[in-house]
């Protein structure tokens, strides 16, 4: 093996050395910027500096798809072949690109000038088909016209209200455009209990997928006695079909920062982290810049506005692992480990990041906070329904005329959302809508009147999840969509618990058979046994929902899973 020049490594990772193990992911990212991948000698040097066992460093590199321990180019093209891009020709784009460069997917040219990969959902579904080229988004690729856009992904924002998205759609809002942190200033004049009470009165619940009441988390952490408490912003956003947090953070970073500050004030935390998925590299520079602006203006850092309250935020960047959006896996990742979810209880509110009481909230959840505090909960609750107050972001993708981010009050119907998005292109009929993402379930054309609220969807047996509304027209073969879901979960299972580690693989194999018309007798029963076992017995939410869409499809369209069934599309 050639020896690598280790000279540039030490200065590049210097600032992470005092962190020890929690510096591991940032150090590996820094090393990969230099070498393109992590050769053995580089890994050993990082291990030595950070005092992490060699085998553990290797274990971490192996866990994350965007870390490489084999020769890989500094320039990686990741073509999305997940569910929405799959509908829009993602496979063809990958194949043509590979052909052009004489590579197979996941291969690197001999001179290390290019690596081509297929990728799980890149969080750019409204711009399908798409790819990530180095640190830039290649969006709305049109092979026929040979056109695409490259750079920062455009934000397409629509809908009848613009509260959460007031500053989205026009590039990154600077601090000057954002203005004073008025909500924070107001919160500084309130007692912490009053802030929590306002959040409680607003009825705010989590927008990350689990719909957990925000105030309960805040109250618990506020009640804990600890030398250190943390606020963690979950910007891992890897649920296929979800792209709202990308737009919020990229266009309006100050809103999330202000939300975190108010949370910190309410619970008594002095340190925060924003964990951004590795596939959103273009978010990092504007986000860093926003943090700098906030610090310079005295909104962030020590003794904020002379109030005695101090709070600062660090960014952590993931490296290709959907599971790191699960809150405890995310903590493990910040701690420099493989992203294995922890057994709960204990819960993050008592034993979170570094074992300390931690509030973890989704980007969109946090963006509601400044709105609630500045308007007051009474005004905020005028929007939406009694049980689901306020505004909500919906990610529309797939077969709609105008895919994009839609802001609407809770209670808008599914049909209204479809109409806002211009309906289905090409005079085609609606076949199905996947709600909640890969971990979601299918709605059918007779359910268009369902109100998009937590309570109405639950009554209809449908998930709200992260606000995904993924539309399939009548010509789509749903077995192909399910096949991609199967691939996604098998690729993303962390492997910790048996039901999901093996179940996602078995599910994928059966769905592959079903999609290629080679269904075996009893495959439907196999899918159900595997599916229910994952749902019932898995350790974390990934396995518990990995069969959700498949089981819902079996209920709706059992005929698709029967032996000898030819393509649905004549």
């Amino acid at each position: 093996m050639p020896d690598f020049d280790l000279a540039p490594l030490t200065p590049a990772i210097e600032k992470y050395i005092p962190l020890g193990r929690p510096g591991l992911l940032p150090a590996l990212h820094a090393a990969q910027k230099i070498y393109g991948w992590i050769p053995e000698s580089v890994a050993a040097e990082i291990a030595r500096h950070l005092r992490v066992p060699l085998a553990d460093v290797h274990g971490v590199i192996e866990f994350y798809s965007m870390f490489y321990n084999e020769p890989t180019s500094r320039r990686v093209i990741r073509v999305c072949t997940d569910i929405v891009c799959g509908l829009k020709g993602g496979d063809g784009i990958l194949n043509r690109l590979c052909e052009k460069h004489g590579l197979q997917p996941h291969q690197t040219t001999g001179d290390l000038s290019l690596t081509i990969e297929s990728s799980p959902c890149l969080g750019l579904c409204e711009h399908a088909p798409n790819a990530l080229v180095g640190d830039e988004a290649e969006t709305d690729i049109d092979p026929k016209k040979d056109s695409h856009m490259l750079g920062r992904p455009p934000s397409w924002v629509y809908g009848p209200i613009r509260l959460l998205t007031a500053r989205c759609g026009n590039g990154t809002a600077s601090l000057e455009q954002y203005g004073r942190y008025e909500a924070l200033a107001k919160a500084l004049s309130m007692r912490p209990e009053e802030i929590v009470r306002e959040v409680k009165a607003s009825g705010l619940f989590g927008r990350g997928g689990a719909a957990f009441p925000t105030q309960i988390k805040w109250e618990s952490v506020a009640a804990e006695k600890a030398d250190q408490k943390y606020i963690v912003c979950n910007a891992d956003e890897s649920e296929p079909g979800t792209f709202k947090d990308r737009i919020l953070l990229l266009d309006d970073p100050h809103c999330t920062i202000e939300g975190m500050l108010i949370a910190a004030l309410a619970v008594g935390a002095s340190k925060g982290y924003i964990y951004v998925r590795g596939e959103y590299p273009y978010i990092i520079p504007p986000l860093e810049n926003a943090l700098r602006e906030a610090r310079e203006a005295g909104w962030l850092g020590g003794n904020i506005l002379g109030s005695g309250f101090s709070f600062d935020i660090e960014i952590r960047v993931g490296a290709g692992a959907y599971i790191c959006g699960e809150e405890t896996a995310l903590f493990e990742s910040i701690e420099g480990k493989r992203g294995f979810p922890r057994v709960k209880p204990p819960f993050p509110t008592t034993h979170g990041l570094f074992g300390r009481p931690t509030v973890i909230n989704n980007v969109e959840t946090l963006c509601n906070v400044p709105l609630i505090i500045s308007q007051g909960s009474a005004e905020y609750c005028k929007l939406g329904t009694a049980k689901s107050p306020g505004p909500k972001l919906f990610c529309l993708s797939g077969d709609v005329e105008r895919p994009g981010l839609y802001e609407a009050p809770f209670g808008v119907t599914l049909g209204e959302l479809l109409e806002m998005a211009g309906g289905i292109p090409g005079n085609k009929q609606l076949q199905a809508i996947l709600l909640g993402g890969a971990a979601g379930a299918f709605a059918t054309p007779d359910q268009l009147d369902v109100k998009m609220t937590f309570e109405d969807l639950r009554a209809a047996g449908l998930p709200l999840g992260s606000g995904v509304v993924m539309v399939f027209d009548e010509t789509r073969d749903m077995r192909e969509a399910l096949n991609r879901l199967g691939h996604f979960f098998a690729h993303e299972s962390c492997g910790k618990c048996y039901p999901c580690q093996m179940g996602t693989q078995r599910q994928k194999e059966i769905l592959e058979r079903v999609a290629s018309g080679k269904t075996l007798p009893d495959d439907m029963i196999r899918l159900q046994d595997v599916g229910w076992t994952m749902t019932d017995a898995s350790l974390c939410g990934l396995g518990q929902t990995a069969a959700s869409a498949v089981l819902s499809a079996i209920k709706l369209w059992p005929e698709l899973f029967v032996e000898g069934q030819k393509s649905k599309v004549g």
Partner: protein
């Protein structure tokens, strides 16, 4: 403090803080386990020990969930049986269980069909024979994590091994696949002791199984001299 709960219709008392598994076993109710081991931290990996607890949406791993007063537990409900049977069938379709008699017995008990998943990918790898003490046959590994745990904080603090890959493709491995003598391994043998499936095996046991006699093995045995009677 003593608590009272009902397991399979039988009222039992247990100490507060006990796991459901311990409470059940102390009262003669058997719950199967695979990854659980007295000497290692319970991680709730295999989920074969799941039980149905009234009022809880999901099945609960009894090796980590604490018994609570007035809990109502079923250890062999239909849902529990389906989960256990399916997990066993997936294991059989994934790995070589020939050296894991306890699991084969479990398969019989739950009526698990080893051929349930036709065309299933298996986790297979070459036997790693790179040190004088033990061989590593990861085709027989069921990822109970015990070896990694005793090599780290659960016992030895050696940190010679960790994980490769993730998901179904996870395997136990060393730093960049280095042979054991080039790692921090101190050949303490604890990992071999806790391995439930013969994936880690004393080299001598392995050679005996290959048909060699103890004499032949002893000649092979490089390195150390035979102890002389002083």
């Amino acid at each position: 403090m003593a608590i009272t709960l009902v397991i399979d219709g039988k009222e039992i008392t247990a100490d507060d803080g006990m796991t459901l598994l311990d409470a059940a076993r102390e009262n003669g109710i058997d719950i199967p386990t695979i990854c659980f081991h007295e000497a290692t931290t319970a991680n709730g990996l295999c989920r074969i020990c799941v039980v149905e607890v009234e009022g809880m949406r999901l099945l609960q791993p009894s090796c980590i969930v604490k018994a609570a007063d007035q809990m109502k537990v079923q250890t062999r409900s239909e849902r529990v049986e389906r989960a256990r049977k399916t997990i066993l069938e997936m294991l059989a379709s994934t790995m070589d269980l020939s050296d894991a008699p306890a699991i084969l017995t479990m398969m019989d008990e739950y009526g698990a069909d080893a051929a349930r998943f036709p065309g299933a990918a298996r986790r297979e790898s070459e036997v790693k024979d790179d040190n004088p003490m033990y061989i590593r046959d990861y085709s027989k590994c069921l990822l109970c994590w015990r070896c990694v745990q005793v090599c780290a904080e659960d016992a030895q603090y050696t940190y010679a091994i960790n994980f490769e890959g993730r998901g179904f493709k996870t395997q136990i491995g060393t730093f960049f696949d280095r042979p054991i003598p080039e790692t921090t391994c101190v050949l303490c043998g604890q990992c071999v002791g806790v391995c439930p499936t013969g994936a880690l095996k004393a080299k001598r046991e392995f050679l005996l199984e290959q048909g060699m006699s103890p004499q032949e093995i002893s000649v092979l045995n490089t390195g150390r001299k035979r102890r002389s009677k002083a």
